[in-house]
């Protein structure tokens, strides 16, 4: 699992990659009531908006960790968007993607680097 400074993660699960937001990021949002992403098949460049998570009084964008193409949105979130709150880094993944350039993965932080990064934030 690799992390970005804007608190997204990307990880290989089986044959595909999944993208979500980190547990740290979800803890800074109230109950998530809605999740949406760019449409299946969209290509999104690193750092561009990949989708939005909404609580009652806030809408937070999340961004593509690297260049990707959206394969599928996590259906569970359509009925149970709070899954992101409950399990941000497992069942609460948001989109399955195709990675356009695997080399970019190396530019991201691994888990321990991300932890260290978080400790500098507060």
């Amino acid at each position: 699992m690799k992390f970005t400074k804007t608190h997204e993660w990307i990880a290989k699960v089986g044959d595909v990659y999944r993208v979500g937001i980190s547990d740290y990021a979800q803890s800074h949002m109230n109950d998530i009531v809605y999740a949406e992403s760019e449409a299946d098949g969209s290509e999104v460049k690193k750092g561009e908006r990949l989708g939005t998570l909404e609580s009652v009084k806030a809408a937070e964008d999340f961004f593509a960790p690297i260049d990707i193409k959206v394969i599928a949105f996590n259906d569970i979130l359509a009925d149970a968007p709070e899954t992101v709150n409950k399990a941000a880094e497992t069942d609460g993944w948001i989109v399955e993607v195709e990675v356009m350039n695997e080399g970019q993965l190396d530019e991201l932080m691994d888990e321990s680097q991300y932890k260290e990064f978080l400790s500098t934030l507060e």
């Binding site: 109230n30 109950d31 009531v33 809605y34 909404e54 009652v56 009084k57 968007p81």
Partner: protein, 478 residues
């Protein structure tokens, strides 16, 4: 708990309102256009309807019952003479297509209000068409866009907007094709001038500034900023939501604004009506008059006319001529106060706020120490240590019978508490509110749970807004 009006129906009941008319005639209309069923509307008698809506009204908080310290909303007294006059049948029953010679009175009302707004804007012409502040912003942005189009400078797309702005500013400007760029404030709460400099080029469309800003701070550099924007070929839009802090003291046109909107439902005492109708007239500098939306009222000789012949008009922005009922109320207000009363309005609004701020800052933190005008923004920094959020303070105020101030806005103050007392309130009312605010600060120290779990004394506890967002129920169904 009040039932829904639909739940009060007696099956088959109807009120009688159509006079007898002996019409032995068949419908002409194609039968397959007719529908089979009647709509599910209420079946309730007159008295029960009156009781239902009267009881609903009593569940509301309103200016006429209590102090309403909502920052940024200017919840001032709505004079009753405004209501009386605006309800004259000779105004409210006019149809927009009645012949011009027969509606001279209402056209004069509109013409006079245009002029009084010109007076206090320091600009050249006014349109009364916009239905609300945001609608005025949109009209103003259309005017700016058309100006650049006619001038052949359509590449000017960058609209600078301070981070303290109302959300309507960026939302309106994108609808006119501009690209909002956020400018941050400095430690005084002023616009950071250095940040403007990279944008002073031929892609700059202009800047939208709320003056005084949503912190209640009058930016003394406004005219300097305006000069910089003008020299770069851009235009200066002033959001006039806070005009209650400027009447009789300074005119937007004199400090460099080219376009601005008023909120008649804030500054000029027309009621907020649970969310509307408002009215958001727009004033423009001389070189923008030829872009105004149509129609505007003009006087030719002794006659008032609706003028549709405006050279580069942006076009129609709404049906008809404006929210006329609101416009009449604002004109009555202008006339009832005159120059003297308008200035006094601002003087007292600012004094009330200054007094309240002086007393409340003993126990509440204020981020910006700068001089403020008609409103000021506190936060929960002192109470936060006890785990108390601004929302808790707001809900505790409800327990004491006060509407909460505006909270969590402006966004540049973490956990903001934005208070605007207006000129309407007596010292007694203000003192009582101050006492309660200080009492809540004490409670936060001694009994934080009491504050965190408020409200306690109301008919309702906190509502489940998460459920409403996830599974909205937006209508009654049988």
């Amino acid at each position: 708990m009040e039932k829904l009006i639909f739940e009060m129906s007696a099956k088959g009941y109807e009120n009688i309102f159509l006079p007898e008319e002996n019409l032995n005639i068949e419908f002409n209309i194609d039968k397959n256009l007719l529908k089979a069923e009647t709509l599910d509307l209420p079946e309730v008698g007159e008295l029960d309807i009156i009781r239902h809506y009267t009881r609903l009204s009593q569940l509301n908080y309103s200016i006429d019952t209590n102090f309403y310290p909502l920052g940024s909303c200017t919840m001032k007294y709505n004079p009753k003479i405004n209501e009386e006059i605006s309800a004259y049948s000779e105004f409210k029953d006019l149809h927009p297509y009645m012949p011009e010679h027969s509606v001279q009175g209402i056209l004069k009302v509109m013409y006079d209000l245009q002029n009084y707004l010109i007076d206090i804007s320091g600009l050249s012409a006014v349109t009364l068409l916009p239905s609300a502040g945001a609608h005025g912003e949109l009209a103003g942005n259309f005017i700016m866009a058309k100006y650049f189009k006619v001038k052949g400078e359509e590449q000017r797309k960058i609209m600078l907007i301070p981070d303290s702005a109302h959300g309507t500013n960026p939302a309106s400007t994108v609808m006119a094709g501009f690209k909002p760029v956020q400018i941050t404030s400095d430690e005084n709460g002023y616009i950071d001038i250095e940040q403007l400099k990279p944008y002073l080029n031929d892609e700059l469309a202009g800047i939208m500034i709320t003056q005084p800003n949503t912190l209640g701070i009058f930016d003394p550099n406004f005219h300097i900023i305006a000069k910089m924007i003008h020299e770069a070929g851009g235009l200066v839009y002033m959001d006039g939501a806070n005009m209650n802090a400027m009447l009789g003291h300074v005119k937007p046109g004199d400090i460099g604004a080219d376009v601005m909107h008023f909120n008649l439902h804030k500054t000029f005492s027309t009621p907020h009506g649970m969310g509307g109708p408002g009215s958001g007239p727009v004033a423009v500098r001389d070189f923008l008059v030829e872009f105004l939306p149509i129609p505007i009222v003009e006087k030719r000789g002794e006659n008032y006319k609706l003028n549709y012949d405006i050279k580069h008009t942006i076009g129609n922005i709404k049906e008809g001529y404006g929210n006329i009922g609101v416009i009449i109320r604002a004109l009555v207000y202008f006339l009832s106060l005159g120059q003297v009363g308008l200035k006094e309005t601002t003087d007292i609004a600012v004094l009330n706020a200054a007094y309240m701020k002086a007393k409340l800052t003993k126990k509440y933190h204020i981020k910006y120490k700068t001089l403020t005008k008609h409103e000021f923004v506190l936060d929960n920094k002192y109470q936060e240590e006890k785990g108390i959020r601004t929302l808790d303070i707001a809900k505790r105020l409800l327990d004491y019978g006060y509407h909460a101030p505006t909270i969590y806005f402006p966004l540049i103050v973490h956990e903001a508490i934005m208070i605007e007392p207006t000129e309407s309130e007596s010292k007694k009312t203000i003192d009582e509110f101050i006492d309660i605010m200080l009492k809540i600060a004490d409670e936060a120290e001694t009994d934080p749970e009491l504050v965190k779990t408020a409200p306690h004394n109301l008919h309702f506890k906190r509502f489940d807004e998460t459920r409403a967002a996830k599974q909205p129920i937006l209508r009654w169904k049988k």
